[in-house]
Symmetry: C2
Subunit: 152 residues, 2 copies
């Protein structure tokens, strides 16, 4: 991780309709392909606190578990950052709007176009990690606001 950032690739894995095990398998296999193609040596993932409803939270947890499994199966270290940390690192303001994050990701990575919202979130998380963010450890949620399940 030098002082300049180079964009290599980004994307989203869409899981098929159907039963949970097959959907989790598609996340595993999708990330396996990305890892095999780009040989990352580190992984950063957004830490989320979802509180929409228990079913959605459970589903997100399962998907997140599968994503982290794909990384640890290849012995990659996984760092976690809250949306607050990511926004602080990318925009300089933990309460920045989504559009500001997208715009800064585009500028920092010198992209011609805007990445999709989800891809921008993932790139922002990677930038946060590249900028030297530390692993999350035990984060206190005291004093943060929740909005649509995220710390803001």
């Amino acid at each position: 991780m030098g002082s300049s950032l180079t964009y290599i690739s980004s994307g989203c894995i869409k899981t098929p309709d159907g039963e949970l095990p097959l959907r989790l398998k598609s996340i595993l296999e999708g990330l396996n392909e990305v890892i095999a193609e780009h040989h990352p040596d580190q992984v950063a993932i957004e830490q989320v606190f979802v509180n929409i409803n228990p079913k959605s939270t459970l589903m997100l947890g399962q998907a997140r578990g599968a994503a982290i499994c794909a990384a640890v199966l290849k012995d990659l270290t996984v760092a976690e950052y809250t949306a607050l940390q990511v926004k602080q690192a990318v925009v300089g303001n933990g309460h920045a709007k989504k559009e500001q994050v997208q715009e800064m990701v585009k500028r920092l990575l010198k992209l011609d176009g805007s990445p999709s919202e989800d891809a921008a979130d993932a790139l922002a998380c990677a930038i946060c990690h590249a900028h030297g963010g530390q692993g999350l450890g035990g984060i206190s949620t005291a004093g943060y606001r929740m909005k649509r399940g995220r710390l803001v």
Copy 2:
């Protein structure tokens, strides 16, 4: 799966204290060992609806995601059953108490001693599956009561 049940093994995987990725990895590796040792061709897992608090639900989802990943990585089919279905299959009463489940597991598998509570739950889920329970699909929670995060 014939008409008689034979007990082979049961147990619990305890994850180490520490960061989430390492804890999920210990679930993956623990189940990999069990699969390598006993060569199951099917997996049954309890479907849970946890509503204690979002953080616990997210954590459970992540652990559950890792467990399912261990199975699908070996191309094992995974069936899901609610506690209601498991109790119905094992005790004949979807609202049976935990002690009744433990007692019936002990009897059905002709065990000398009582398995631990968590192991008994897992064995009951396996018995439910062996008795021909079907995969969960889209379960309706309407009409069921929730108790400590489980359908009862």
